[in-house]
């Protein structure tokens, strides 16, 4: 639909392309330059040394093997779990279906580093609570479980990424044309045979996209590899880069960039495959998704055992981590819950954390980044989504691709890229460096809910207001913004919670004075101060929840005001 073009509108697309282009392309370019430079101080003096050293490192082959096993293993665990849950939820008569919604959303609110920490507290070989408990009741010698292994990493990462896989697979499963299955049954196939021969093959695009997305996520993952992998001396690419820049005598950002290049290239390639697959599967799904209700399969005797599994999963995903953290924050050292443990409980860890100046500073910084960062990020997302959905010129398509680019950014790699950039500017080691990095990396999470909000605003709604005599501003105030509020609120919540718990980008960009919560938790964890980790972690979860509730209430109030007042 063409419409009168005003100058402000015409200028919007190029200026957004400049802003978003700076945010997404700049770190990539700096990463490329950095990888060919001799060092942070000697930017621009060209050398191939970094690549040669990085890729001839004798440990590098092991790191690659570990990374491949870790990412593919996590993708497998997450996707199988998600398929299982999505199938039960959309296609069977399993009870208490609201649990599935909770399982798919809540784990996103628990910071990954805390989830990893809680599993370390349960299953570490020296004093993991579950290990100690099993040793006691079975009077065993060694520990039955060791979390510090590749299997341990895969299990935890798989659980963490399951919600993402679920959010891709469940809608595809719900929009599935049930007559395909019915015709299979009419041909005489059993439920199981139908599932294997018809349902899963038809869902292949969704399953593939889920696998690809989880691989990208686990490739970028830093929480699990650092908290679980590093103590067991199992390195993957993200922890390898961390080792190059953050441990040892001299940080080598050139070599980090050289290693990061291959991570980034793999990641971008996978994301474009993912994008292709989802656009294909969306086309396919919308055809048959109109007002139909699938017949539910009666699980009969399997109903309650299966429900038991779901119950255990939700306990493990949501209740257990918080419980373990809270318990650990109250006891002086790791011990199995007992009368002795309860008698030794105190608020000591909390008091220590809240009187620790660096923890307090990190708290302040993270809250600032969460609130200010999410607000700025959402404002940018509103304009970008507007152009993507409503302007739809060739420039708008370019902007969409640009803004989608950062979806594939592995935080730690892009952190190295930004490092190369910020060192050249006065922003280095300020909180603004983190803010810019956060917005650049998480922009797609703000854009997605807003583009769907804009799509719902049919151009006729806007035009109708203008024909009624309303000017552009009045239309914006009475029609566009009220309809956008749900999208703005969910975009803000997503960004704020992600910024509040941001770890991967921050481990590179955070400097003395700009500590943030997750990095502080990581430092405590590296020193084995589990009580402090837990106390700070619980504070983190509380702040995150408070922000979500406040944003939700403001959104609800604004929507109601529009309905009552006018």
């Amino acid at each position: 639909m063409n419409r009168p073009m005003f100058n402000t509108r015409a200028a919007l697309t190029p200026s957004l392309i400049v802003i978003v282009g700076f945010l997404t392309v700049c770190p990539v370019i700096m990463l490329v330059f950095g990888s060919f430079s001799e060092g942070l101080g000697a930017f621009g003096s060209f050398t191939l040394d970094k690549y040669i050293i990085a890729y001839t490192n004798p440990d590098f082959a092991d790191i690659i093997v570990n990374t491949v096993i870790f990412t593919i293993g996590s993708a497998f665990v997450a996707t199988v779990l998600a398929l299982f849950l999505a199938y039960l939820n959309t296609r069977t008569n399993i009870p208490l279906k609201f649990l599935f919604r909770i399982i798919s959303i809540i784990p996103m609110m628990i910071p990954h580093i805390l989830f990893s920490v809680s599993w370390v507290l349960l299953l570490n070989p020296s004093n993991g609570m579950l290990n100690l408990f099993l040793q006691e009741i079975l009077s065993m010698e060694g520990s039955p479980f060791n979390i510090y292994t590749l299997q341990g990493m895969i299990l935890v990462e798989g659980l963490l990424d399951m919600p993402i896989a679920y959010l891709i697979i469940a809608p595809a499963m719900a929009a599935f044309d049930v007559s395909l299955e019915e015709s299979s049954k009419v041909c005489g196939a059993s439920n199981l045979r139908t599932l294997i021969r018809v349902t899963l093959p038809v869902l292949r695009p969704a399953i593939l996209s889920s696998v690809i997305l989880v691989i990208v996520r686990s490739l970028a993952s830093f929480a699990v590899p650092s908290v679980i992998g590093m103590p067991g001396r199992i390195y993957v690419l993200s922890t390898h880069i961390y080792q190059i820049v953050a441990t040892g005598f001299t940080a080598d950002y050139g070599m980090a960039a050289a290693v990061g290049m291959s991570v980034l290239i793999v990641s971008i390639t996978l994301i474009y495959i993912y994008r292709y697959l989802t656009s294909e599967s969306e086309k396919y799904v919308t055809i048959s998704s109109r007002g139909y209700k699938p017949t539910l399969i009666d699980l009969k005797n399997a109903k309650y055992p299966l429900f038991g599994i779901v119950g255990i999963l939700s306990f493990v995903l949501i209740v257990l981590p918080v419980l373990v953290l809270f318990y650990t924050s109250l006891v002086p050292y790791s011990m199995v819950p007992s009368t002795k443990a309860f008698s030794m409980m105190s608020w000591n860890n909390w008091v220590e954390v809240l009187s620790d100046p660096i923890s307090l500073l990190s708290l302040k910084n993270s809250v600032f980044l969460g609130i200010v960062g999410a607000t700025l990020g959402v404002i940018l997302s509103v304009f970008v989504s507007y152009v993507i959905v409503k302007v739809r010129t060739r420039g708008a398509g370019f902007l969409e691709s640009l803004s989608f680019l950062s979806f594939s950014f592995p935080g730690i790699v892009i952190g190295v890229g930004f490092m190369w950039f910020f060192v050249q500017t006065p922003l280095y080691a300020t909180i603004w460096a983190l803010l810019i990095g956060y917005i650049a990396t998480y922009l797609p999470y703000g854009i997605r809910p807003l583009t769907s909000a804009f799509i719902q605003i049919h151009s006729h709604l806007e035009e109708s207001s203008r024909v009624c005599g309303a000017g552009t501003l009045y239309t914006l105030r009475r029609i566009i913004i009220p309809l956008l509020i749900p999208g703005i609120v969910s975009g803000w919540i997503l960004m704020a919670t992600m910024f509040l718990r941001e770890l991967t980008l921050s481990v590179v960009l955070s400097r003395p004075g700009t500590e943030v919560l997750a990095v502080q938790v990581l430092h405590f964890a590296e020193d084995g101060l589990w009580g402090k980790v837990s106390a700070l972690g619980i504070i983190m979860i509380c702040i995150s929840t408070t922000l979500v509730v406040i944003a939700y209430l403001i959104g609800a109030k604004l929507t109601r005001m529009e309905n009552v007042n006018q």
Binding site: R3, H458, G471, R478
Partner: protein, 362 residues
């Protein structure tokens, strides 16, 4: 209010080609009439409507509404849609989902800053008019399609505009509701003395609703006239074919009599209503509607406009048979009374009413 359009053009650029959505349209829409723009999709009718209301900017020409010039390329005038004091009913209804029925309808009055009391009174009156009294506090999204359509109409009427524009407002309703709403709409518009510009691709809607119809094709207005003139006396092959079902027969003018034009065609000599533009030896097309072809069974008379043919197919459609008759190599469609006993394959005779055979000159 009269609307006057002069030499209006609108181009689109797509794939390196220029598409003329409107090509030098000249049009005068008389005041207090229901004026319909009719044409197949892509003919430019919606573009013309959107240019009048101001949602699209033409590339050249002038639009005058009443005394005001709202768009002129030469005089460099562009009045934005909110200043044009028009109302419009959209194809999608454009009901704002975050407002209730009252707020949706009150919106144009709220913009004019009328008092709360006046707004409440006018909204109530309008709701009564569209038979939605008591629906004020319903959320707009909880209404049925027909009710949403009435809300959209109420919103267009509440500000008492002089001109309302309709962009295929009935196309999303089911057939029965569409018919009822069409009748109601006509009675509202006549009662309220409003100039209405109505866009549709449905010829029955156009014929039953309008005072005047303008038929459009490829960005041009081909013919303007009252519904009966368009249906019975069109000059254009395209219009005759687009409106209703028509048998089109090619021929050559043989002679011109006092009240008839005589045309030689593939099925014989046909006497048609006189068309002064058709001169002897001109190549012409004859249009005859199925309902004016009469079947005369077992008639042996040879007279004017009587032809012999064969019933090729008969389809029973309820009130009649729709029959396909072949005369020589020409196939004609006609309607046959359901009580007449004719079978497929029967030889029959047909008679054309010469007063309803038209010579199309263009």
């Amino acid at each position: 209010m009269e609307i006057c359009i002069k030499n209006l053009s609108r181009y689109y650029f797509s794939g390196g080609k220029t598409i003329k959505a409107l090509a030098n349209v000249d049009l005068i829409i008389p005041a207090n009439q229901i004026f319909t723009l009719l044409g197949p999709s892509g003919c430019g009718k919606t573009t013309l409507l959107r240019c009048i209301v101001g949602l699209e900017t033409p590339d050249s020409g002038e639009i005058r509404i009443g005394e005001k010039i709202v768009w002129s390329k030469e005089k460099n005038i562009f009045m934005p849609p909110e200043k044009r004091e028009l109302s419009m009913v959209f194809q999608t209804y454009a009901i704002w989902p975050h407002m209730n029925v009252f707020d949706n309808i009150a919106y144009p009055l709220q913009i004019r800053k009328e008092s709360r009391k006046d707004i409440a009174r006018k909204v109530k009156k309008t709701l009564q008019l569209v038979q939605l009294d008591g629906f004020e506090n319903r959320p707009a999204t909880k209404l049925s399609g027909g009710q949403q359509q009435r809300v959209a109409l109420a919103r267009a009427l509440v500000a008492e505009p002089k001109v309302i524009l309709f962009d295929e407002p009935l196309s999303n309703l089911d057939a029965k509701l569409r018919e009822e709403t069409r009748k109601e709409l006509r009675s509202f518009l006549i009662k309220l003395k409003i100039t209405a510009i109505y866009v549709t691709h449905d010829q029955i809607e156009a014929l039953s609703l309008s005072d005047t119809i303008a038929v459009m094709k490829d960005g041009r207005i081909i013919e303007i006239g009252a519904p009966k003139k368009i249906y019975f006396g069109s000059d254009h092959r395209f219009v005759a074919d687009f409106i209703g079902r028509a048998n089109l027969i090619d021929g050559k003018v043989k002679a011109v009599e006092d009240s008839y034009t005589i045309v030689d065609s593939g099925i014989g000599t046909i006497a048609c209503l006189k068309n002064p533009d058709a001169l002897p030896a001109n190549a012409v097309t004859i249009c005859i509607r199925p309902e004016f072809i009469k079947v005369i069974k077992r008639d042996t008379r040879d007279g004017r406009n009587i032809f012999r043919g064969r019933a090729e197919s008969m389809v029973f459609v309820g009130e009649a048979y729709e029959a396909e008759i072949s005369i020589a190599d020409t196939r004609l469609i006609t309607r046959i009374e359901p009580t007449i006993s004719i079978k497929e394959g029967d030889e029959i005779a047909l008679s054309f009413d010469p007063d309803h055979c038209f010579v199309l000159s263009k």
